[in-house]
Amino acid sequence: MKKLINEFLKGIVRENPTFVLALGLCPTLAVSVTLTNGVGMGIAATFVLLGSNVIIALIKGSIPERIMIPCYIVVIATFVTITEMVMKAYSPALDRALGIYVPLIVVNCIVLGRAEAYASKNSVSNSFFDGLGMGVGFTLALILISAIREFLGAGTLFGHALIKGFEPALVLGMPPGALLVIGLLLGFFNMLKNRKA
């Protein structure tokens, strides 16, 4: 049990997919304009990660090595399609806001990376907790980035205005702002790491 919890926890800080492994940055930057979008994308990606990790850990023995990657992609794409359909049916507004970045979860390096590096070598339960940890780590990173961007770029959090008279820097809601925030955050975490070492 302790090992499983460890598998879960490592994705959150020690191997955080965004800040430590620098994987899956495309959706992170694109959708982190508002907290709502960030949380939505985090949950969607977590679902796909969990599903694909478990299925791949289940079938890992029965597929020949040469067609492994295509098989992974099919498994992942299936979960992404499910996510797409569910989102279109139950939350069309979120689906519109996330746009092409929902189908693009297929090529999110985190998902394929975990499938190849972890789920294909480990047991189902381990893979489940690995997927969950990575998903939560990814979601937390998204929450951090989108909170910064929504607060400074629009003056709101979850759409609620916070401080009266605050003039938001619109650029943080735009692509250059996303690149800037992630660059500075990566630098900040590097600094913490250097200080510890």
């Binding site: 003039e167 938001p168 820097a169 619109l170 650029v171 250059p176």
Partner: protein
């Protein structure tokens, strides 16, 4: 220079120290600033002062925090502050130059390792950041005061907001034509340091004579913009008002004082000509078809990004190497 020295580029002027160059450039910028304050009133003087002080403060603060030598004396942060202020409308709230200068120095310069290492012109980085963040303030301009009496009245003068000539042109309503002579003297709405062409030219000629800038970048830049707007700027080909395009906006300020920045422009003459033509084309294209009325700052930044590549393909190779 009495002696003709034949050498292959890059031509390094070793005699001049960096800080002397910087202070001479700063001095050459003074006429344009004085003209700006005279034209728009005292509010623009405050913008300049605040921008310069915050640029110096940011530079010092970062250098202290990162335990580097504090180098305010080299004058580069001073110039960044001045140039940023020159690119702001005269009546902006005073927190705007503060934020702009901090951003210009921190993100435009210090993250690259300080003076001499920055890829982009810091003042322009600050300006486009402000432009994208607070477009409302960055595009609100005031009428020039009536020369002479204006300066005295400016303490309690109610500013009248209006659009710049280029912005009017963009909206397609260019009814009341501003005469070329007014454009030349700076009697038009615009940013603090860009309006008075004659003052800018005084500074530029001073730098030319002293040998601090060469003609390659500014002349090719201005000529390209002129030719391009002449060909495509009017109804039908070869009917554009190229004099208007050269005299308005931030073209002259940009061409002489920002595109010529040693650190962020190419080293060789050939590279500088490519750089100038690139700036000119991009400026004209943005002015004629882009969403913003003025494109000089964006054009220079884009060419700043291209400078390492230009250098790479125009630098003289050492014989025998690849």
């Amino acid at each position: 220079m009495n002696k003709l020295i034949v050498s292959s580029s890059p031509h390094l002027h070793n005699k001049e120290s960096v800080s002397k160059t910087m202070w001479v450039v700063a001095a050459s910028l003074v006429p344009a600033g004085v003209a700006g304050v005279f034209i728009f009133g005292l509010s623009s003087l405050w913008v300049i002062i605040v921008a310069v002080i915050s640029a110096l403060a940011t530079e010092a603060l970062i250098q202290v925090l990162t335990k580097r030598k504090v180098s305010l004396i080299d004058g580069s942060a001073f110039i960044t502050g001045i140039l940023l202020a020159y690119n702001l409308p005269p009546d902006v709230p005073l927190w705007l130059p503060v934020v702009g200068s901090c951003f210009a120095i921190a993100i435009g310069k210090q993250v690259f390792g300080g003076l001499g290492h920055n890829i982009f012109n810091p003042a322009l980085v600050g300006r486009v950041f402000l432009m994208a963040s607070w477009p409302k303030y960055m595009t609100t301009f005031i009428q020039p005061l009536n020369a002479g009496v204006g300066f005295v009245q400016s303490m309690n003068y109610d500013a009248v907001t209006c659009a710049t000539p280029l912005a009017l042109l963009k909206e397609g309503k260019f009814a009341e034509q501003i005469s070329y002579i007014n454009l030349f003297l700076g009697n038009r709405p615009g940013c603090i340091g860009e309006v008075c062409i004659v003052a800018l030219l005084v500074g530029a000629i001073f730098l030319f004579i002293k040998g601090y800038i060469s003609w390659h970048i500014p002349i090719t830049y201005i000529l390209t913009t002129g030719v391009f707007t002449w060909i495509f700027g009017g109804k039908g080909l070869f009917a554009g008002d190229w004099i208007f395009h050269i005299l308005s906006g931030g073209l002259v300020l940009g061409a002489f004082f920002m595109a010529t920045d040693y650190v962020t422009s190419p080293l060789t003459r050939k590279g500088q000509i490519i750089f100038g033509i690139g700036c000119g084309l991009l400026t004209a294209v943005i002015r004629l078809w882009g969403g913003y009325p003025e494109g000089a700052s964006y054009a220079i930044l884009m060419m700043n990004a291209a400078t390492p590549i230009i250098d790479r393909y125009t630098l003289n190779r050492i014989y025998g190497t690849k």
